[in-house]
């Protein structure tokens, strides 16, 4: 039974089915309270967690998102069930931390991870297209580095306890969400009273859907970065078929739920500054490619015992804190009296994106093994 399930999940139908399930659940989460065109956004949700913990003080984006907790723990459950839980670590963790931080800065310049880019497109937000083009360019650069011998080196098998650290951290987050302790006057835990952070589906629904997606994604290795990378690298459309299923299912679900609104300007939690939508995602895509997985995949890997992916996630959360503390994150378009005020990046944000691209290129150029 277990082997047959493993075979099914590894098949084309397996990944298409899982992509479609995620595509339906994302817009459904919006219907149930999650922010518009943000059914699930790994980058945004990690940013919200950083805010809830007080690592940044942008009071509109603070919430402990149960989806993230569910992704990790769902993956842990799947890995244990199918005997794939394997503690491993030690492949250039500091580099993965830096990549995670800049991946987040890039994602917040666009306002979304690849998952959200697809959910935004499926909701009619055409700004997602330059974002996705940027993503493809970034991953393309990453593939070039991979072809020319880029490697962060081997990870080592290690004590099972190492692999448990990140899942246990998630259980800790869950406890903070349930008990909502206040650590002092004006101190965390923070929960937004307005803005995207205040919009959320019921906790148990979010957690349940997170667990389900975490389980399924661990089985199928669903990865939005890998989807693009494998096509460029080896003309393999396996993962891409899952991503396209997500996009199609999300589009159909949005139509059914009346959540589809076509256009550029004034889209929810998005800005229409073309250049920085592209460049933000070039940076993010390059960082994901160099780290070997999109933000979602890094969570699933963390759940199955990969300590290096966990460091990438911690880098992302730290990057989110910097992004909001240093005004690097993009401002969304706003609509006042029917007039659209274009959002975008501050000069600090633009500098950070360019700096991030330079750092990632340097990592790509300097960390190559001589190929025999």
């Amino acid at each position: 039974m277990r082997d047959r399930l493993t075979k099914f999940f590894a098949s084309r139908w397996g990944i298409v089915l899982v992509g479609a399930i995620i595509g339906i659940l994302g817009p459904l989460l919006q219907k149930l309270g999650n922010p518009p065109n943000m059914g699930i956004c790994v980058a945004c949700f990690e940013r919200d967690i950083a805010g809830a913990l007080g690592l940044h003080r942008a009071n509109v984006v603070q919430y402990i998102r149960p989806e993230i907790i569910g992704f990790v723990l769902g993956s842990t459950i799947a890995a244990l069930t199918f005997r794939e839980f394997k503690a491993r670590a030690g492949s250039a963790p500091i580099v993965r931390f830096v990549l995670g931080a800049f991946a987040m800065i890039g994602a917040l310049a666009f306002l979304g991870c690849p998952w959200r880019a697809n959910f935004r497109l499926a909701g009619g937000d055409l700004n997602a297209i330059p974002g996705l083009i940027g993503l493809i360019i970034g991953i393309g650069i990453g593939v070039w580095f991979l072809r020319s011998g880029y490697s962060l080196g081997r990870s080592q098998k290690t004590y099972p306890a190492v692999g448990w650290i990140f899942p246990i951290l998630m259980i800790g987050l869950l406890l903070l969400l349930v008990f909502r302790p206040v650590f002092g006057e004006g101190a965390p835990i923070f929960f937004s009273e307005k803005g995207p952070g205040s919009l959320h589906a019921p906790v148990l629904v979010s957690l349940g859907i997170g667990l389900l997606i975490g389980f399924l994604a661990q089985r199928t290795r669903f990865c939005t970065m890998g989807a693009v990378r494998d096509v460029i690298l080896m003309r393999d459309v396996h993962l891409l078929s899952g991503l396209l299923a997500l996009l199609a299912a999300a589009f159909a679900t949005n139509l059914v739920l009346g959540q589809f609104k076509l256009g550029y300007a004034g889209q929810p939690i998005a800005h229409s500054n073309l250049l920085w939508n592209v460049l933000g995602m070039v940076l993010a895509g390059l960082a994901y490619a160099l780290a070997g997985g999109c933000p979602g995949r890094q969570l699933f890997l963390s759940g199955e015992g990969d300590g290096d992916s966990a460091v990438f996630v911690l880098g992302m959360i730290t990057g989110a804190a910097f992004a909001h503390n240093f005004s690097l994150a993009a401002k969304a378009d706003t609509v006042a009296d029917g007039v659209v005020q274009m959002g975008g990046l501050t000069p600090f944000g633009m500098t950070a994106v360019v700096l991030g691209i330079v750092v990632c290129l340097t990592i790509g150029f300097t960390m190559r093994q001589k190929t025999a």
Binding site: E84, S151, S155, K157, D236, H238, G292, G293
Partner: protein, 69 residues
């Protein structure tokens, strides 16, 4: 002579790239060592697409894939 590709501990997609390079060099059989199911499946899929016969041997919690034409 058997070509040995040790891709243990390498993260995705490096095992696939190393196996691809070995296939491109044209010497068989090729033994690819990997330590995760993900890498096993990725290498298997790529090799089968390239027309190789793939035999998978489990060694503890690691895998050896033997690729032949």
């Amino acid at each position: 002579m058997t070509v040995i590709v040790d891709a243990r501990g390498l993260s995705c997609p490096q095992p696939v790239i190393l196996a691809q390079n070995a296939i491109a060099s044209g010497d068989y059989p090729i033994e690819v060592m990997v330590d995760t199911v993900t890498s096993r499946e990725n290498v298997r899929r790529m090799a089968e697409k390239q027309g190789c016969k793939v035999e998978i041997i489990q060694q503890g919690d690691e895998f050896k894939l033997v690729l032949a034409k």
